[in-house]
């Protein structure tokens, strides 16, 4: 079952990319609002100037041709110029992507740190008040609109308590050379643990805001697969061997319970990546999501197209990684 699965993913990538590119292209071109009009909104542009600009951008050509040109360029990594940044799309995305990925990863980590103990505890004491209380608490996460929760966190932790910063990624005096764009790595690479902590403190509130809903979902998944696993004979057998409870729960049970969670994790990571724009707006986080939303509103087609394609690639790759991880966790599947 292993080899066909890899093959399936490899086939999936171009198909999904093609589908996504087609959908996004259609979506964008069918959207009312003309980028040229928006770009010239505040100017005394004549119709000729507008037509020239339109020709410059290739907007005057037929749909099919535009799509094919877009595809052709995309294959060679050329996504054109971001209208309102007046710079290559690739550049804009490249400088924003690390911030989003860093935020997403930390959010995911927080989600795991919350979800794993919560899910395990709830499963072990299934149907106890603890189980209900914890699952109610974890559901809290799903029910909070991110923008509202984020603002509340800011008011509490930054304004009232003064413990954490309001927004941004790192204060100026903790700046380090950005080799990777991931500040947690860059600060360590620069040998600045103080800067690392500052960067982490900036990450905390947005990551919690972003990660909590994911934590709720993950906790549910882990709880239900733990419930199943805990009923398995090998857990009883492990207990009968006299193993410490921690080892029974976190090695024997959790390792098997995580197998179904891995797939959910990959999907959730994809959703977090694409769902970060609201958190990025609230916390002034310089990530990709914000640019994408701004670009949708500004009809900045090339950037939206490229970003959505990128999301799709990441999605497929994440699933691929999930398969690998699945195999790593599950010895029955060997690639």
């Amino acid at each position: 079952m292993s080899f066909p699965r890899v093959l399936e993913r490899l086939v999936q990538l171009p198909v999904v990319l093609f589908g996504v590119s087609l959908v996004v292209f259609l979506m964008i071109t069918l959207t009312p609002g003309d980028p040229v009009e928006i770009m010239l909104a505040d100017q005394r542009a004549t119709e000729e100037q507008a037509a020239m600009l339109r020709a410059d951008l290739g907007l005057d050509r037929p749909l099919v041709e535009r799509y094919l040109v877009f595809l052709g360029n995309a294959v060679t990594g050329d996504f054109g110029l971001s209208f309102f940044h007046r710079r290559p799309v690739i550049e804009v995305i490249a400088e924003r992507l690390p911030a989003t990925i860093e935020l997403t990863l930390v959010a995911l980590l927080i989600a795991l740190l919350v979800a794993v103990p919560l899910g395990v505890a709830a499963a072990v004491r299934r149907d106890s008040w603890l189980d209900r209380g914890l699952s109610a608490l974890s559901l809290f996460g799903v029910s909070l609109p991110g923008f509202w929760f984020g603002i509340l966190l800011i008011l509490l932790f930054a304004v009232q308590l003064g413990l954490l910063p309001v927004g941004g990624r790192i204060p100026f005096d903790a700046e380090v050379p950005r080799l990777t764009g991931f500040l947690l790595l860059d600060t360590l690479a620069a040998g600045r643990p103080d800067a690392f902590l500052r960067a982490l403190s900036h990450l905390l509130l947005p990551a919690v805001t972003l990660g909590l809903p994911a934590a709720a979902l993950l906790a549910r998944v882990i709880r239900s697969s733990m419930v199943e696993v805990l009923a398995a004979d090998y857990v009883l057998f492990a207990e009968a061997k006299g193993l410490p409870r921690r080892r029974v729960l976190y090695v024997h049970a959790l390792k098997n319970a995580l197998i179904p969670a891995v797939t959910v994790l990959a999907i959730e990571m994809g959703q977090l990546l694409g769902g970060s724009m609201i958190v990025e707006t609230v916390f002034g986080w310089p990530g990709l999501g914000r640019v994408v939303v701004e670009s949708i509103f500004a009809r900045n087609y090339p950037l939206v197209q490229a970003a959505v394609l990128l999301y799709a690639v990441i999605y497929v790759l994440l699933n691929f990684c999930a398969d690998l991880l699945y195999a790593a966790l599950n010895p029955k599947v060997r690639l």
Partner: protein, 298 residues
């Protein structure tokens, strides 16, 4: 190990599940909350104490009744920034939030179930087509997809429903397809096939009843997401048209007054919380009751 299972009086699986459900106090209580909200929504025009769109700037941000100072009699939960009664807006907002959630999830469940059945049972090109479509849509981040579609169609209730349905159906579809693939190999399906039943009959009469309970669980679970989604779209200015209140847009509009008049945005926030929580707990109860795998004696 043989231990617990004692024979229970014969009951249909659904009957058993319902029984388990009714014995689950949390599920019943949260189900009651959901039904209560639904009732509020249906009866909104008759029970809302004020006209939810009646603005009076002199009532701007007046406080809830328990606050003492800037209270307007008859406006129990205070007023929003245009002096509209928050209680009435909450009651009417339940209409929008709940009907968006129910419509989206309902339509998505129907589409997703049919597509999933077809893909899982017919296999072949149908499956490839459906699966690739599902993959494609999964590849889109939800919010980007919704924002893109809303930008394309313009804001408004119908468009929200449409935009969300276009993404939501895949979640049901994936589940149903998986269940159908499994059911396909089951004896009862093989027997039906051997009897010469048409694929349509097998899908709708034989397999469908067996996949309904996971569909139900997925649907209730997704409702929570849809309510949050509507709120997020409102935050980005792509929500329902004013002055129609929705809980999401109320939270979003009130966020500028979080410090001066916390109730404007917090009360609808709490309503969302309570509803989503109830839906989730009810769905958890449903799943516990209907998922047979959790009830095998071990």
């Amino acid at each position: 190990m043989s231990a617990v299972a004692a024979p229970l009086p014969a009951l249909s699986p659904t009957g058993l599940a319902l029984r388990r459900l009714l014995r689950n106090g949390t599920a019943v209580a949260s189900g009651a909350v959901v039904l209560g909200v639904a009732l509020l929504a249906v009866l909104a025009p008759w029970i809302a104490p004020q006209d939810p769109t009646d603005a009076d700037l002199f009532r701007r941000l007046c406080a809830p009744a328990w606050h003492g100072e800037t209270v307007e009699p008859g406006f129990w939960l205070g007023c929003d920034s245009l002096g509209r009664d928050i209680l009435s807006r909450l009651i009417h907002g339940a209409r929008v939030s709940l009907s968006v959630a129910a419509l989206v999830v309902g339509i998505a469940a129907v589409i997703g179930t049919l597509a999933g059945l077809a893909a899982g049972y017919l296999r072949g090109w149908t499956d490839i087509l459906v699966s690739r479509l599902v993959d494609t849509l999964l590849g889109f981040p939800y919010l980007v997809f919704a924002i893109g579609l809303m930008a394309m169609m313009g804001p408004g209730l119908h468009n929200i429903v449409l935009a969300l349905v276009l993404k939501e159906w895949i979640f049901t579809c994936r589940v149903v397809r998986g269940e159908t693939l499994a059911a396909r190999e089951q004896d009862y399906v093989e027997a039906a096939r051997a009897l010469g039943c048409s694929p349509r009959h097998i899908m709708l009469r034989e397999i469908l009843p067996n996949v309904l309970s996971p569909v139900l669980v997925v649907a209730t679970f997704r409702m929570a997401y849809v309510i949050i989604m509507e709120a997020s779209l409102s935050f980005l200015g792509l929500g329902v048209q004013p002055p129609t209140p929705s809980w999401g847009s109320m939270v979003s509009d009130g966020r500028d007054f979080l410090v001066d008049a916390w109730w404007v945005s917090t009360l609808p926030g709490l309503c969302i919380l309570a509803l989503v929580l109830s839906i989730n707990l009810a769905s958890q109860g449903l799943r516990d009751a209907f998922d047979p795998r959790l009830h095998q004696s071990s």
